[in-house]
Amino acid sequence: MNRRALLLAATSLTALPQLEALAQAGQGDPVRPLVLLTRPQAGAPAAYQAAELIAQEWRKLGLLVELRPMPNQAHSQVVWNERQRWDATMWQMVGRPERGDPDELVFNLFHSANIATGFNFVGYNNPEYDRLAQAQRVEMDQPRRQQIVREVQEIVNRDQPYAFLVHPVNLQAFNKQVFAEASAVNQAGLGIRNFWNWISLTPTGRQRDIIVNSTEPVKATNPFYISGSPDSWVTDLVWDRMMRVGPDGLPQPWAAETVTQPDPTTIDCVLRAGMTFHDGAPVTVEDVVFSFEAPGMGNESPMYRPFVQNIESVSATDARTVRFKLKNPDAAFRISVLAKLNIVSKATWAPVLADYQNRPQNLESYVEERPIGSGPYRFVRSRVNEEVVLEANPSHWARPKADRWIMRIITNIEATLGAFRRGEINVIADYTGDPDLLKGMARTQSAMIAIREGVDIGFQFVGMNIRRPPFSDPAFRRAMSAAVNREMMAGAAWNGQAVPSNSLVSPALAAWHYPGIERRVPGGNIEGSRRLLQEAGYRIVNGRLHYPSGVRETTPIFQ
């Protein structure tokens, strides 16, 4: 080494600590090690892998990030009941028909009224957002409401209370040698796992049963209680509702022949003539009134009670008309109430309700020997962890084309494919396995298998705890969200069965989704993320990210 090089080396070696000291003098404390909560790999492999990718990217920004897998129950316990304690968590919202209207998500996820004990567990508090969330609730003019929902998505994009990750793409299949292919009905955001498909699928040969798989068992069949998705597939078919969420995601009259709204707080429903329950008794307006009153009586139906709290009164104005008077205008009332509550027989349930009001248990604990509804399918039997069997109701005005609807509980994905190929089931509506396997099977057996794909209403996200710095800083949240490579995540973690997300309203809901918002994550990549942090005053010193000048780290590390 020559003399000049030696001198340079010596200078730089001695100067380095001074430069770091200078840099540190103008900086805040290093950000504490952050913990990202997730479900274990065995329970949610895609979400776990996504969490690994996120942690990897966040580490590139100078953060110490620990991935903390937790069993489902313990995870929910921390996120829900210990709101001050955690930093960030993987979470998901699953697709359900009633989420076809954005109100449930827009209001409950981010309105400040839900910070303390409701679903706003990240603690997002923005008066401007609150105002818009309330406004879309009472806006009866559809174009104006759509505009408000877009503004809501714009605010969410700006503030990034969640780092939205992906909307899963549903992959489902049915046997087109058993059912006419044209008779299958897709519902926006749900695919062929929907009410309309179950009454529409038309058998073409001797096999006249719809035999559909589910990876989860049905837990209960009770019109006042729902404990999981498969439960609602069954209640959907056994009990009628005044309205249904249509294939396009919009509400349409069902047991109600017409639904009119004389003013923003009054809704009149004319009940379809000639309806009967499965035991032959007629469905009357008294049954309808009771069905909407019962969930509000005491705490008899905690699951359904929130949906009737805006009803001031419900009454029969004539032999076929039921009038709902609302406390406040509610634009989502048709989907979130009329299309959600089941019509039950007053003769059956009124004595049960009276009895349960004197018991410690509530109405959810009542088990009908054979559930009686008025829906297009009648309940036949349920065998624990094996199957649920329904049969077509011949006296229904929308009589199903199939004879029976059978849900088989199959816990093994490979066995699901094997059972489908062998004809033990003829619809795969719940598939969480490798998409290439099913698609490959469809290619080799193209005469038998029809595939349906569609973006789900639900989404996966990272919830960032806004109560805890540095997540309390919107610039930091934007940078964290920008660092996530959603395209790569959709490919690697979801095997390509997902699309990037940046909104609580899925692109499956074309009427409400803000087109192109998924490409507008502020920053948009790891370099953009570094730039956002730099602009907000954060600095990387010795490989560790430091708060802006003067900011001390006082938040305890999650243990």
């Binding site: 069993p71 316990q77 679903f119 837990k219 009670r305 088990v367 066995a415």
Partner: protein, 312 residues
């Protein structure tokens, strides 16, 4: 014993992190709803009060109501029990019948090529993971050859006049073959090796030498004299294995979507469904205790020398 297990499971679930009301998390979930659920589960009461009520109910044969399924726990367990019993008993009978005969034969054929192949084969099937064995059999006999069904205990939508008619139907037995065969393959190693080892000991006993000297046939020596004496530990292992297998078939039940007690237990634990999980544990423990007792009685019956008060 059952009181201790009941108390332990009661405490265990309540000490685990997790709130059973959070199974119902949705965007409309509220604190009011959570409290209502807590009350309906009886979890609003102090722990000692919950324990007192629980033990009192147990004494009356009431296992409580499932938090998630909202049905009496006993009904759910009794619905799953026949499937588990059929799977366990059939697999154990096959495994032990095969293990006893093969073990006795291998003891007799010691040092032969047959032993050189059979012992590693038995050890491999014993050591192979159940899910792997199950998937291999599924892929081969169900997906490939199409001989057996891929899942469940009955064909979809099949009707039966009674539970007994279902359990004795050809359809049920057809569905039972693959899961029972997998479990039997997994279980056969123990009786086979146990029988072989005991037979080797017995074959060196003086009474066997005497039998040989008397000119008895090979078959008579092995089956009538040696095997009967070698059966004692195998019979005990059978009774104990029966008790253990009742709660331990979770993997097989999951691979074959078999609607048994193991899956009920797993989903109850995952969902913090305390009453159902407690009930399942107590039922499994009850079967285990019962089978221990049966093993003791069986041993005393097979070998009167070990019974209490026996003349020595």
């Amino acid at each position: 014993m059952l009181w201790a297990i009941a108390s332990l499971t009661f405490l265990l679930f309540r000490l685990m992190p997790g709130d059973p009301t959070l199974n119902f998390l949705s965007e409309s979930f509220s604190e009011e709803m959570r409290l209502a659920l807590l009350i309906s589960f009886g979890l609003d009461k102090p722990l000692h009060e919950q324990y007192g009520l629980y033990m009192l109910s147990l004494l009356q044969g009431d296992f409580g109501v499932s938090f998630l399924q909202k049905r009496p726990v006993l009904d759910i367990l009794l619905e799953a029990l026949p499937n588990t019993a059929a799977l366990t008993v059939s697999a154990l009978v096959v495994a032990y019948a095969f293990g006893i005969i093969a073990g006795a034969y291998l003891a007799f054929a010691r040092g032969t090529v047959v032993e050189g192949i059979a012992i590693p084969a038995a050890l491999i099937t014993r050591a192979a993971p159940e899910f792997w064995l199950g998937m291999i059999l599924l892929a081969w006999l169900s997906f490939g050859l199409g001989i057996f069904p891929a899942s469940g205990a009955n064909t979809a939508g099949s009707e039966f006049t009674s539970e007994w008619a279902r359990l004795t139907s050809a359809d049920f037995l057809w569905h039972l073959v693959l899961p029972a065969l997998t479990l039997a393959l997994y279980l056969q190693g123990l009786p086979l090796l146990l029988m072989r080892a005991t037979m080797l000991e017995v074959l060196n006993d003086e009474f066997i030498v005497m039998a040989r000297m008397k000119g008895l046939s090979r078959w008579a020596i092995v089956m009538r004299h040696a095997a009967r004496n070698a059966l004692l530990p195998v019979a005990t292992a059978f009774a104990l294995g029966l008790g253990q297998s009742f709660g331990g078939n979770v993997v097989i039940e999951t691979v074959f979507s078999w609607p048994g007690l193991g899956r009920v237990l797993v989903s109850a634990v995952q969902g913090a469904d305390y009453p159902l999980a407690q009930g399942a544990f107590i039922m499994i423990a009850g079967v285990l205790v019962l089978m221990n007792m049966v093993a003791d009685l069986l041993y005393a019956w097979l070998d009167p020398r070990v019974s209490v008060g026996a003349k020595r």
